[in-house]
Symmetry: C2
Subunit: 150 residues, 2 copies
């Protein structure tokens, strides 16, 4: 299986397959004499695992931990569960922040007549409101991508 087929089989782009290898998330694929990467069914299974974890919003580092647990026959399911629940809490935190933003924006938009006149509570709100969102604790662990914290 070449990298293109592996990509189709796993739903991971060719670029990302090479990247995951480069950063050590997965072991380097075997190479044909041509230098082409060759993927086994076992590789594919592992990569699908990676993609599903990614689909659930796990970061690469967490996926690495999950992979370790996956491959460790003597793991404790408690460890897996802890990792998963940690991640759930992280996602819930992000959701709370989204909810705050959505709520504030909807509130502002609701009071905006939205016609051709210039006066607009949305702009006024952005000009004068204090803290739209309660400044979320800037802890290292919670990496949010969108600019939300101050």
């Amino acid at each position: 299986m070449n990298i293109g087929e592996a990509s189709k089989a796993t739903g991971i782009s060719v670029k990302m397959l090479r990247y995951y290898e480069e950063i050590g998330l997965v072991r380097p694929a075997l190479r044909a004499y041509s230098g082409y990467r060759v993927y086994s069914d076992k590789n594919i299974a592992m990569l699908r695992f990676v993609r599903r974890a990614r689909d659930l919003g796990f970061q690469v580092k967490q996926i690495a931990s999950l992979l370790d647990l996956w491959q460790d026959g003597s793991r404790a399911s408690a460890d897996v569960k802890a990792l998963a629940l940690d991640h759930v809490r992280e996602l819930e935190q992000r959701r709370r922040e989204l909810d705050e933003m959505i709520g504030t924006l909807q509130h502002l938009a609701h009071h905006c007549h939205g016609d051709s006149r210039p006066d607009c509570p949305i702009l006024t709100g952005l000009s004068t409101e204090e803290e739209a969102t309660p400044k979320p604790a800037r802890k290292k662990a919670s990496r949010r991508s969108f600019a939300v914290a101050g």
Copy 2:
């Protein structure tokens, strides 16, 4: 007002103040003879506006549009509202994706006994489930930060 004071007054880090200037989001601050940036109260008001928009999850490009509207005395409030509601839809889309992830993970975790035994429905789920989240349409506009799409 030097950049450090401006930072405290706006809640925007010194680094970001310089960055916003560099990318043209705000006009370059005046300079003292020393080369130090000098901020007026008007600058500060504008930067606070920027920070609040950022707190509501707007991207820098959208903030640029908002700033334009803010400064345009003859704007139509409909334009502002449209921008805000577009953004609300974007946030709601992100929230739906988060909800899916949270739901799936909680479901998996709920079935995991979480003790010292190795068998774990979470890992099994990641190994065998199809599409954890329905592949969200990969449209350019919806920039999500976490890896979610395949």
